[in-house]
Symmetry: C2
Subunit: 682 residues, 2 copies
């Protein structure tokens, strides 16, 4: 009886099998289905298939690996090492041959389906599984005796060497084909796009010779106010550059409905807005390529998330229908398009654009992206996810069911419609504390760590000045005013006599609280007015009422945790948000920020076609709630006007904050529109 | 025992079955798989499903049909008849219900797969089976409670009502969708494109309400010299308009190789030529729509056939590789593209363009179209098909095997490179006869039926003059000169002394034959010179050598029949062509003209997607012969220089024509380059 073939064990997969002496490690890996990359197909010219053999005793695996378990370095490995450097302990798995029992570690960077690390544990794992992959091929030269086209021979090579069947090609690629094939002397690297739909693979780009490194995608979050994009390496998932710019459509209207109105009032207005946003997307792509120092032609894919109105305007579809019942989308499905259809100029002319599905007429691809990033359908506990923006997208769900709606909060949370409001920029007040005894405030402005009562504040703030209050600042100011007894549960700001603070100054028939008086230095007087309170009350009531509507539908009156998404969500203090009743009562530590979850969702869809299939399936399963026609919405909205709420108890909030039981309603004329209640119930 | 259900018999299919009383005739037809059209899906609003019931005794079918075999006219039929008129004896099959045994004739115009009549018996039957079809649907209106996109509801309706699954749509169609759906009050007719590739169906166009009539395709034959197109009704196959124009690329070079040279000498020359031809294609499409009086947006498809150089130039691919060995095509496969990729401006922006496959680097989609039209693979006898143009495409085959090559005949057959040559236009000599005794000619010019020796010729020819000789005229002139003993087998024109005709005049060191002397009337002296003979000899030798090469490969030295294709082929007399040895010897009645077979092939591919699949398969099975590298080509070429041939016997020709055994070679210096042979062998 002869000795058995050597045993080859791969880690971390644990896959194992016996192979004849002389088998290349790459061949063994492929036969076992081990996730081991290769662009050149085992020709020893790319570095993708590197592995780290381990030597010695492995009692766990029951093997002893000797120094001669693999064949010695051959000339290919030596040449590779001398020209490009093979890291210590590494072998090229296509060259190293099995000689005896061996344990082979596949490092993360040699895996095709690399895991990309995400910061928060509860989020969806991101595995690299992009639509576009690079394949090096050697193409048969043309033969007069057996005539066939260059493209047909390239396609045959990709089929024989990489299993790519039914390759398709567009005219711009065809026109470039003969040049690249001849420049590479019939050795080329093909970027082949195969997505999750089962559509025929597409030849996106062709590089002469071996092209191992560098092809990219753009993950774009197209918001009403800002457009953010991440330039992502489609091989590693690494973000190579990130940037944002203002949505140029703002000049047509601050919020979505004013843009829809613009279209209704101005024939051709939709085309103007489409051109504006497409120009901005192109500019942003070019800027990111410049920032990362890459050739923009290497950007071969993009994903886009946005709300339904932005979706239609970016696609060149009149959004008027979205401004009126029944809020009919022209299309709700995910879309896969040539990026050039949206006028992307600098990037690869054949780049593909994937747009996530819309959930409903008011709940867009941005909400789908949040669902993809935050994966409520995988949450064991009931999670409420709020993407705070000019429109708030709200998701509620767990493994059994997911609900979604949107609520028209308006731009107050972003500092608009606030008397001293401004966008988040240096000089804007972003944090506020008010002493409950003295009623004196202190604050921090964006761009400086010191508080306003720190000795070094005054000389340093000269650079920016104190210019206004940003979105998170107004939330904190209002919450602190409520906690300090300057404002009552109905939202009424007390007079100087009622509050005992000279900072409460008359403002017409109401009062305002002076946060900062910079007039002596030529700056503004920054106050919080009764009108500011009303604007925030309207916004937060809409937000809360939307959440309540989903809770009603789910049949619950509490949630287990709250996730605040959106750039703004990252800056809201959970305590302050809850004092104002922006979010339902939960333990404060169960309120987390997901950052730009919509942007993250776009990046996941960019890197992983399985995620595209998943979100398309999940969106179809999400229950959509239309706030505009829900009979209970108005009642929830009115009850949510009080701070934190007229009727819902906030026991978790009460554990950490004692809200003063004050009332400034003197029974006089109508400053308080929310009713005559004097105290919070419950 | 109850009576059996009534028997329903459909003619001409003969399909029959029993159906319960009250079954609509359309339903019975569908269940039996009878080919019966309907656009509206049985709603009684289109006229497509008309049938003619037959009454009385039908011993052949064993039934007696009473007057009450079908339900009486209902209100739908009455309304239809009063508004649009129902022809005598016709019923709408969706309304008429079976009441008793009945025989139902489905007239040709009610069949989905109508046969289109073709003139010649040996050609492929053309069955209407276009990629684009119209389907009327009623689409669900948007519902806030169950939100979905307009497109998704349209696609669902098409799937439920017409079995169209996986509908796709492009951005321009999406942008138009909401307007059309609302204009049609959610009743629309969809033009759905589904070709033979199995690719997902595409929504090409959407009409509000019912659109029954009128959607069109263009069949384009893009030649080096002329571009011809047929505007075809995609429902009936009827040609609604036909037109042609000169290929504007002629200014860059008369023949293909001079155009390739232009590209090699002038950077950017390919783009110039691409723009020129695309502009001409667009103009032609617009002109045809104008001629037919139709909205160009109703043109939703086009097919294109052309030689490989035109193919690459139209597609925007540098044709340089086609000008040098190994004559590599960038792509040889059939292509399905957006017509807008080739800049078609006026027609439907989503129109699809199908380009037939190329056979080899010198044998293009035009040859594939000839193969589609003439179907050599279905011929029991061995057929030689020659498409005569600036380049000749040659096919040889029968049911066992088909071979193809191209041969560089040059433009002499089209009247170029001929001293008195001109394009076929009024005033050009197109027919020639020479009296073998007097050696006097008579001729006809294009635009007049009288011969030049008819009494009324002179006064009438003043309108055009006698301006030159066209391609078919030069063939006839040379053949007549050979038959009249004015020119010998080597192609040498005799002197006045040798021939006994004063029309043989000195022309340098050679002689020319005077066909017409119009100088007295201010017209030209029209002669056939020795140089003209040499040009035609070169062209016909190339043609014959190509055919011989295929016959060698096939292992035969005769063919059963010859088909002359191409516009020029229609005007060549078989006898004259054979006297010159342009084609191999066959009985004269076995030489037929196929007219513009390439254009016909384009029209077949336009009307029948099964034909597209068939020609793609057939092209893959055709054996390609590259004349440029075949060692025997040169020998065949030299031997073919003689008229009709130096060595091949022409027994069939000898049965009808006695060629005089003359020789005008006096042993003097080199007018006869083909050798010193004095007489035809065999």
């Amino acid at each position: 009886m002869t000795d058995p073939d050597p045993l080859v064990i791969f880690t971390p997969s644990g896959k194992r099998g016996r192979f004849p002496v002389g088998t290349p490690v790459l061949t063994a890996a492929r036969q076992l289905g081990v996730d081991l990359d290769s662009v050149c197909g085992g020709r020893g010219i790319c570095s993708k298939c590197q592995v780290t053999p381990a030597y010695g005793d492995f009692p766990k695996h029951g093997v002893h690996v000797t120094d001669t378990a693999l064949s010695p370095w051959n000339s290919v490995e030596e040449r590779y090492d001398s020209t490009r450097g093979l890291p210590e302990g590494r072998r090229l798995s296509c060259q190293a041959q099995v000689q005896g029992d061996v344990v082979i570690d596949v490092p993360a960077e040699s895996q095709v389906h690399r895991q990309v690390i995400r910061k928060r544990a509860e989020t969806r794992a991101l595995t690299m599984n992009p639509a576009t992959r690079l394949h090096y091929v050697e193409v048969a030269e043309p033969d007069m005796h057996d005539p066939s086209g260059d493209f047909e021979r390239l396609a045959a090579a990709l089929e024989a060497q990489w299993g790519v069947t039914g390759l398709t090609v567009d005219l711009s690629m065809l026109a470039a084909l003969q040049g690249v094939l001849r420049k590479g002397n019939w050795r080329v690297t093909a970027a082949v796009y195969r997505d999750h739909t089962g559509a025929a693979p597409r030849l996106l780009h062709l590089f002469p010779g071996l092209h191992e490194d560098g092809f990219y995608g753009l993950a774009i979050d197209l918001g009403s106010t800002t457009i953010a994009a991440h330039l992502t390496d489609l091989e590693t998932g690494e973000v190579r550059a990130a940037s944002g710019l203002m949505n140029p459509q703002i000049r047509f209207g601050e919020d979505l409905m004013s843009r829809v109105s613009y279209v209704m009032m101005n024939p051709g207005g939709d085309t103007e807005m489409t051109n504006a946003v497409r120009g901005a997307l192109s500019d942003l792509a070019a800027e990111l390529a410049r920032d990362a120092g890459i050739d923009p032609a290497l950007i071969v894919e993009a994903t886009l998330v946005c709300n339904p109105v932005m979706h239609h305007l970016a696609l060149g579809i009149d959004p008027t229908e979205l401004g009126q019942a029944p809020f009919a989308l022209t299309t709700s499905s995910a879309l896969s398009l040539p990026a050039s259809d949206l006028g992307f100029a600098a990037i690869n002319p054949r780049a593909r654009l994937y747009i996530l599905p819309c959930i409903a007429g008011h709940v867009g691809a941005d909400a789908a992206a949040v669902a993809l990033s935050e994966a409520p359908e995988k949450s064991e506990d009931l999670v409420l996810i709020i993407d705070v923006g000019t429109n708030a997208e709200i998701l509620l769900g767990n493994t059994s069911r997911v609900l979604a709606c949107s609520s028209p909060t308006g731009p107050a949370f972003e500092g608009a419609q606030i008397s001293s409001g401004q966008r988040a920029a240096p000089g804007a007040i972003e944090k506020v504390e008010i002493d409950p005894v003295t009623k004196e405030p202190r604050f921090r402005v964006i761009g400086m760590k010191r508080w306003s009562d720190d000795p070094g504040f005054a000389p340093r703030v000269v650079a920016t000045g104190v210019t206004g209050i940003c979105g998170s600042g107004i939330i904190e100011a209002l919450a602190e005013m409520r906690m300090a007894g300057i404002m009552d549960a109905s939202g009424l700001i007390g007079s100087a006599e009622q509050t005992g603070s000279a900072r409460c100054i008359p403002d017409g028939r109401t009062h305002a609280y002076v946060l900062h008086d910079g007039r002596a230095e030529g700056g503004p007087l920054i106050t919080v007015t009764q009108g500011d309170v009303r604007a925030i009350q309207l916004a937060k009531s809409a937000l809360y009422a939307g959440a309540r509507l989903l809770m009603d539908e789910m049949g619950v009156d509490r949630v287990d945790r709250v996730v605040l998404a959106g750039a703004f969500g990252a800056h809201i203090s959970a305590k302050h948000a809850m004092v104002l009743g922006m979010i339902p009562d939960v333990p404060l530590e169960r309120v987390t920020s997901a950052g730009n979850a919509a942007g993250t969702g776009a990046r996941i869809a960019l890197c992983d076609i399985a995620a595209r299939a998943a979100i398309e399936g999940n969106v179809a399963r999400i229950t959509k709630i239309e706030t505009a026609i829900a009979p209970a919405f108005q009642a929830h909205f009115v009850a949510a006007n009080a701070l934190p709420h007229a009727s819902d108890p906030f026991p978790e909030l009460a554990k950490v904050v004692q809200l003063p039981d004050v009332s400034f309603n003197t029974g006089g004329s109508g400053a308080d529109g929310s009713g005559r209640r004097r105290r919070r119930r419950g």
